[in-house]
Symmetry: D2
Subunit: 141 residues, 4 copies
């Protein structure tokens, strides 16, 4: 039986004027910006402090890969819902899948892959505990 | 013997201040914006009028897929060269590969996939002649 | 006695990772983007259809002037509230003042000035009725 | 007799697809982004190292005020020239005026005001020597 995802895995976003091209359609790269903002908001709502992730002197989480597919045009004013689904890849990395819904339809999908490294040495290392907790809770079991 | 690509397939770009995060590293989604700007500049330099592509009432060229990989961090002030390589997929679509060089090293790669449709019906159709010419010249044979 | 502004004149926004510079401080031009998004959201919440404003074949509302002042640095993760205050200038134009609050402090201010023109002739004309209603309700009397 | 400005005070920029709204007109806030990129490029061309300005542990140069005026619409593909003119305000601050030309016409103007502070204490202090040299050379006497 399908269950609704927890609220910290569903982020709402309205398409704004400056994000569309002359055809009134979203210019493609904004989608990946929204995906990252959804990831940040999900961490916020789950209770992870941003400083633990984005200004942490002991761990950086660069994106090493991203991709997106566009199924239907998104227009100015469209109310979108971004559904996040997470997957650990190994103890040092994970990926997030983003389904972008308009009404009950998936209009686009996104993916970001994140690797934990030490900011100075740039060597791989285990994820910070706070991220590991969020990831565990966000992973579909 | 390797030959240098023609100048309309090599676009230069310097990383600007507002494009980096608190670690001084490029925030990931700017890369795909640069790729699109490089695609536009390549068309310009080849002699394709922007109106034939971006405000054409008979043909739209939406991106249906994009992706990027990040091998090394890019920093504020880095002088990058974006090398474009094109590939037709079928008579209605093509993809562009972007290799982002810093000095002689590839620091990131990008890919965009473009489909030609009619703006009103959104049905697939053949590429505009001007794009087909650019694509033919840009395709590595 | 001061009264609280109606909810459609107070828009909340959290500073996201890609909006800060290497010092962790918001890069200045994002503020004006947020101001415009707050203006759009205010119209939404008041019940004005976006198509009446942003894709109206009979009226365009270009910004003819904007400005911003930065009193205190805004950082990644800061929860900001944008307070809008409107003022008609003449029957064809108006301006919006934006006070950006963090907790109870104003950290920045913005201003945009909007002119109504005919999209084809670019001649000044009266504001669309829907905007005039929103403006009247949003004007401090 | 008017003399042409030195090349490091004239920066060229073509309007790109993602920077225009559904009317094909530049969305207003991009202009201020271009102004800042022109400022950075001017420093580059004059020979000032970016690290002296944008990652200097002894001096930060936040923008404390910005403004722009829009005289004529700028469209996708327009080739713009940004002319910079500088003015010291006192030993700790300066402003830059930007005239945006299309062909021989000024289509918009911008202004940014910069203050030198110590990054840690946020107290006003004298401009870094490299900036002071650039400013002196860039000031119309």
């Amino acid at each position: 039986m399908a269950t609704a995802p927890p609220p910290w895995l569903v982020i709402c976003r309205t398409v704004r004027f400056g994000e569309t091209d002359p055809a009134g359609v979203v210019h493609f790269y904004h989608l990946l910006r929204w995906c990252h903002e959804a990831y940040e908001e999900s961490l916020d709502r789950f209770g992870v402090a941003g400083e633990d992730i984005f200004s942490n002197p002991h761990a950086a989480l660069p994106i090493i890969h991203c991709q997106a597919r566009y199924h239907l045009p998104m227009h100015h004013g469209d109310a979108l819902r971004v559904h996040l689904g997470c997957r650990p890849l190994d103890p040092t990395s994970f990926e997030i899948h983003y389904d972008i819904h308009r009404n009950r339809q998936v209009v686009a999908t996104g993916l970001t892959r994140h690797l934990c490294i030490h900011p100075a040495t740039r060597k791989r290392q285990a994820l910070p505990t706070a991220v590991a907790c969020w990831l565990d809770a966000a992973t579909l079991h």
